[in-house]
Symmetry: C3
Subunit: 129 residues, 3 copies
Amino acid sequence: MSVRHINPEGLHRNPGFSQAVVVERPAKTIYIGGQNGVGPDGKVVGDTVAEQAGQALRNLATVLESEGAGLANIVHWTIAVVDGHALDDGFAAFQKAWDPADPPPAITVHVVAGLGPGFLVEIDAVAVV
Amino acid sequence: MSVRHINPEGLHRNPGFSQAVVVERPAKTIYIGGQNGVGPDGKVVGDTVAEQAGQALRNLATVLESEGAGLANIVHWTIAVVDGHALDDGFAAFQKAWDPADPPPAITVHVVAGLGPGFLVEIDAVAVV
Amino acid sequence: MSVRHINPEGLHRNPGFSQAVVVERPAKTIYIGGQNGVGPDGKVVGDTVAEQAGQALRNLATVLESEGAGLANIVHWTIAVVDGHALDDGFAAFQKAWDPADPPPAITVHVVAGLGPGFLVEIDAVAVV
């Protein structure tokens, strides 16, 4: 397998994401559904984006670890935050969970009108191994 | 090809979706654009999420059948519902269309401010065969 | 590699998108994060959807050209426009950037409550080469 995180000349650079990720010959591709700030009991863990994003990231890690992978295998993710809540708090949760030695995924960020009941943030992802 | 629907230990389980789907050696990957409640004539079929979601699911099935596949081949889908309309009605439409013997796809659900004119729900999908 | 843009019988046809795109044996798959109307200096280029969509499309082209590809290699894209701004202006920008001889990608369009600060439109994409 080959995975290259690219930031071509002529595009702005940001430490929080790669402009694109190029994948060749993946052994497997993992499509992870939107993860929320939900614990193993199905309950929402808190009422802030920071708490919920932290839990959503732990859920993503749990999925990936079950396949012998980790957050660093994510090539693209979409982060949806409910309108009126701070995107920055989600970014702070990312910085806590992410090893800065790993090149970050390509990212899409939408501020949405809502999510499922009680959810403030949802993160889905494609990962390759 | 190999497709595994996974629900790792430590994550909440829900009959409506899989936490992730792992794909190895797909013969083909089908990227299906957002399907709406639009009939063959291009007209919106009704003004409820239930009607529109039912038609969007039929459109997804039509796309997949043209490739010798079906809804069960979907590995991830994103469902967008316009703010103020019930997510539950979309879920009921899914339950009607989905064979409960098939493990469900990974899912992302966003409540959006709007969609194209007259649309209340949009479903895009990635399927593998 | 094989890429087929399909518009099965029974679905409405629209010159602006394909209903689905079928990919077999891609040499590489490029996951491009959400591109905005941001220039090389990281600044937003204008305060209209038309200007920002034009720049986002140029950014997508820059990413693809760095991999020996072009817009025609996009198989699916998601276009998010902030509520209150005209989708049509984004479509006009697409028509300027897109070679009508190329079959268009599968498309998802969401009207969102917001995007990052100052952004009116965001386009992410999956491309195959």
